[in-house]
């Protein structure tokens, strides 16, 4: 009676079409300077998310009776010439389907929350424009069956995140932090793009099924065309991409900075979805990890280092959103270590559980003081604080040192700035000065001078 492949295809397309239509619906009036009303935006967002979620549930329902729970929707080649093609393929499997469902549920909840939280805010339309761009990006990334499609979604997620960190753009600090996030994301994007092209070059296609086998996740086996050495090379590039996106060490500094954005976007991006995207990427290419024990060791090492660092730095944070961001990072580090150790299902369940819990905590964060007061009123006394006896065993000067290091977040940002950013910018500023001098010499007169000799604010050194 029912043609199951056709139904799966139809509903599968609806899953992606819903957020993409939403982008067009909100984007076109914005481009024409005729933004929609708050009510229309809220309803459109809710409707599109409900449609996407329902379609995804139908696809899940259709997949469950299948012996091999994997539905592939091939949309053909978006671009195809003689020896180059850009295929668009969506894959619903044990990894992508739960992640998409999670994305719709959390984005729907937070969307409803944000429509009240940002009521009459001047940037209401702008917030939802970036928000739906993020949703489209995360859905495309999750369902991508080719590395090129994944890259397209990955970039959308990065751009929308950076712009939402700088949402309160009349202040300097959010903008500087937004740029910091963007810089790290670009490094991550560059690593992913190189990995994608190298993979494409090695297997002749960017299709995950050719690279990682056709067996449903996580039983795939990497292509025999890839040697251990090549797997290590690609894997390290992907680990770099994942580290940038998930704020793993040494890029952890951007996560607390990203808390400058509105609370709803912080909750869904850095508590739930965006911060787990690196782990998702590693899960997607997990058959590649099986090829190289060194790669697995690197993944475990990065994961555990991140977890330890975040637990250490998180203990001394003085504002609740930063404390929560480090708590998130601790869990993400553990998840990455789990992936490196081969516990793929554990990692997936860990992502789903952690994302839901952390989103709730982020949403409750603005009312934390009220919660404390309510509890204290209820018990009629201050909340009990248990002293940590083990900390007394550490010498005083060591405790102070540890406190300083944790407060400065391990000096990671300073280290990156001193080792990479400052020398890089100094080199180019010197080149610029030389070039100006040479041009002035040829012209026989000094060129128009910039208005100030030194940048006052917002240099990249300040940002990182």
């Amino acid at each position: 009676m029912f043609h199951f492949p056709l139904l799966t295809r139809g509903f599968g397309l609806l899953v992606v079409a819903a957020p993409l239509t939403l982008v067009l619906l909100l984007g076109l009036p914005t481009l024409l300077s005729r933004p929609l009303s708050e009510r229309t935006i809220s309803r459109a967002v809710q409707a599109a998310i409900v449609v996407g979620l329902a379609a995804c549930l139908v696809v899940l329902g259709l997949m469950l009776p299948m012996p091999s729970p994997r539905a592939t929707i091939e949309l053909g080649h978006w671009v195809e010439i003689h020896d180059y093609h850009f295929a668009i393929k969506l894959v619903f499997d044990r990894l992508s389907t739960p992640f998409v469902l999670l994305s719709f549920v959390l984005c729907g909840t937070i969307g409803a929350f944000a429509s009240r939280y940002l009521h009459r805010e001047r940037g209401f339309n702008r917030f939802f424009m970036f928000y739906v761009l993020f949703l489209a990006g995360i859905v495309v990334t999750s369902l991508a069956g080719t590395i090129e499609t994944l890259f397209a979604g990955w970039e959308l997620v990065g751009l929308s995140s950076a712009l939402l960190v700088a949402f309160y753009h009349e202040r300097t600090s959010p903008v500087r932090n937004g740029l910091h996030v963007w810089v790290v994301y670009r490094i991550s994007d560059a690593a992913l793009l190189i990995a994608s092209v190298v993979m494409h070059h090695m297997t002749g296609a960017g299709d995950f099924s050719k690279l990682l086998g056709t067996a449903p996740w996580p039983d795939g086996v990497a292509s025999s065309a890839i040697t251990e050495h090549q797997a290590l090379m690609i894997g390290l590039l992907l680990l770099l991409a994942a580290a940038g996106k998930s704020a793993l060490v040494p890029f952890s500094g951007w996560l607390p900075r990203a808390m400058e954005g509105p609370t709803p976007s912080s909750a869904v991006f850095y508590g739930a979805l965006s911060v787990h995207l690196g782990a998702f990427l590693l899960l997607r290419v997990s058959p590649l990890l099986d090829l190289s024990p060194w790669l697995c060791a690197a993944v475990v090492l990065v994961g555990l280092t991140t977890a330890l660092f975040a637990a250490f730095a998180g203990r001394v944070q003085t504002d609740i959103k930063c404390a929560l961001s480090f708590a998130s990072l601790t869990q993400v580090g553990i998840i990455v270590a789990e992936i490196g150790l081969g516990f793929r299902y554990v990692a997936l369940v860990h992502i789903l559980g952690h994302a839901c819990l952390r989103t709730l905590q982020f949403l409750r964060a603005p009312t934390l003081l009220l919660d404390y007061r309510t509890m204290e009123n209820a018990i009629g006394a201050d909340l009990p604080r248990t002293p940590r006896s083990w900390s007394r065993l550490i010498p005083e000067h060591l405790r102070v040192w540890c406190y300083q290091v944790a407060l400065e977040r391990g000096y990671l940002d300073g280290l990156l700035t001193d080792c990479f950013v400052t020398p890089f910018l100094r080199l180019f500023r010197r080149c610029d000065a030389l070039e100006r001098r040479w041009t002035n010499f040829l012209a026989g007169s000094p060129a128009r001078q910039p208005r100030r000799a030194d940048p006052a604010v917002g240099t990249i050194e300040d940002l990182i």
Binding site: T30, L31, L32, S33, W78, V79, E80, I81, H82, D83, Y84, F86, R122, E148, F151, A152, G153, E155, L156, L159, A162, A166, H169, E170, T172, V175, R176, G178, L179, W182, R186, I187, A190, L193, I194, V197, H201, F424, L425, R429, C431, D432, E435, W438, T439, L442, A443, G444, S445, A447, R448, P450, R451, R452, D454, P455, A456, V457, G458, I460
Partner: protein, 469 residues
């Protein structure tokens, strides 16, 4: 599509010239602007019609002969460049605000347009060289008219023309179309590097942006006539080492200019370095031996022209409101000019090949082609693109956010500017979402460009229908 049987190519080239003669009589500047926009618009329509004529199913009347000699002829490579350049000139004229009209010379702009359109229609080496030399004259006249120093510009352009003539003389002196010797190659290499602002000959470009009006500088570089010269004059005859030399130096320029774009404290210099980096990336692809790389470069060409042309128009519109734009502090202009902010973001991201915009597939193809040929080249291109992306967003933040800008007058975008930016936005997004027809057309052009080097030329499938004048 059925088009009236008109000599569209000739009309596209002659309309701006007639317009220039007509506008020359005008005394009132805003009337001159309206007439110029009208003529530029007509030229744009004719250029689009000439391109459509060239498409499969068209009449193919895209050749102009005088006394039996081919003067202008469109081919797969040049046909879409004609409407692209005409559109840029049209939009730049339309988006010129009344406050800027007294300083703008519409006559020079129309003459420049005619020269660029003629250049993109010509394939004969000496004609190309003549038109490239003529193209230099209007900006030089403007610099002189405004009393600005033209020494750097003139020095470089004189050298460029001289080297081009000397190189082409060496090439034509070779008997029987043999590959030119070392001298011809070196001279042509130096000429192309000079015209494209490739390191170490880039300083004329920043100098032009410093001294000329933004519109003039933009229209001189945005059509990328230097890259056209590289394809027409150098690529078919130059030895491999010349192509590799251009490719390598272009690669260095791409990374170097992207680094410089990051540290600029003035918007014009930022734009100039950003353009330099992107045009160098396109040039890397053009000099690449692989078909994918070359196709990618030809796909990136319009994204650079349209994306950065649009970005330039946005900066020009902001300059018209705020004067020269400093990047050493936050300007906070978003609340006053949200449309320009959005368009700045869109065009900037299009130029760096962001998904959903014109340049995405092209950039991917260049990287793919580069990795295929030399993996490290691919890495360098990715690094340049990443740095450009950072520079674009950094400048966006500096101009539109980080502060609250108070203004007693409205800075909102005007209708003419809105039309210009929306037209470009529509093209950028359309090319981003439906890239296949464009990529196929550029692939055909890439095959055509590679053909003389790889194999003897094959007869064209469509019989030519020459129009004699």
């Amino acid at each position: 599509m059925t088009l009236p049987h008109l000599p569209w190519l000739e009309l596209a080239i002659l309309t701006p010239l007639i317009g220039a003669a007509w506008v020359l009589r005008m005394k009132v500047s805003h009337v001159a602007r309206q007439w110029s926009a009208g003529f530029a618009g007509c030229a744009c329509v004719c250029a689009v019609a000439a391109w459509l004529d060239f498409q499969p199913g068209g009449r193919g009347a895209t050749e102009v002969r005088i006394l039996g000699r081919e003067i202008f002829k469109l081919d797969d490579f040049s046909a879409p460049l004609l409407p692209l350049a005409a559109l840029l000139f049209f939009l730049a004229t339309v988006a010129t605000l009344r406050s800027k009209t007294p300083r703008s010379s519409f006559v020079r702009t129309l003459i420049s347009e005619a020269i660029v359109l003629a250049l993109f229609s010509s394939r004969q080496p000496w004609l190309v060289i003549g038109l490239l030399a003529a193209e230099v004259v209007p900006p030089w006249l403007e610099l002189r008219a405004q009393g600005k120093s033209a020494r750097v510009f003139l020095l470089h352009m004189t050298l460029f023309v001289g080297l081009m003539i000397a190189g082409q003389t060496c090439v034509t002196a070779q008997p029987g179309g043999q590959v030119p010797g070392a001298w011809g190659g070196v001279l042509l290499l130096a000429a192309i590097l000079m015209r494209n602002g490739i390191v170490p000959f880039q300083c004329w470009m920043t100098d032009l942006f410093e001294h000329a009006t933004f519109g003039t500088a933009l229209l001189f570089i945005a059509p990328m006539t230097g890259a056209y010269a590289a394809v027409r004059l150098v690529r078919p005859i130059a030895p491999e080492w010349v192509l590799h030399g251009i490719g390598l130096l272009s690669l260095i320029t791409a990374v170097y200019a992207s680094g410089l774009a990051l540290v600029q404290r003035e918007a014009r210099r930022f734009f100039c370095h950003l353009f330099l980096s992107h045009s160098a990336i396109a040039l890397v692809g053009l000099e690449m031996g692989s078909e994918i790389g070359l196709t990618g470069a030809l796909c990136v060409w319009p994204s650079v022209s349209l994306g950065l042309g649009g970005l330039g128009l946005t900066l020009r519109a902001l300059e018209a409101r705020r004067g020269r734009l400093a990047l050493d502090r936050f300007q906070g202009l978003y609340d006053h000019t949200p449309t320009l902010a959005m368009f700045f973001g869109l065009t900037g991201l299009a130029s760096v090949g962001f998904p959903g915009t014109f340049g995405f597939v092209g950039t991917d193809m260049i990287v793919e082609g580069a990795v295929e040929s030399y993996p490290l080249v691919g890495v360098a291109v990715v690094v340049a693109v990443a740095l450009n992306g950072i520079a674009v967003v950094q400048t966006y933040f500096r101009l539109f956010s980080g502060a609250r800008h108070d203004s007693s007058v409205s800075l909102k975008v005007r209708t003419r500017e809105r039309i210009a930016v929306l037209a470009l936005a529509a093209l950028i997004l359309l090319g981003g979402f439906v890239p296949q027809p464009w990529v196929v057309s550029r692939h055909r052009a890439a095959e055509e460009i590679l053909a003389p080097r790889d194999r003897p030329p094959t007869p064209t499938t469509r019989p030519p229908d020459p129009v004699r004048i």
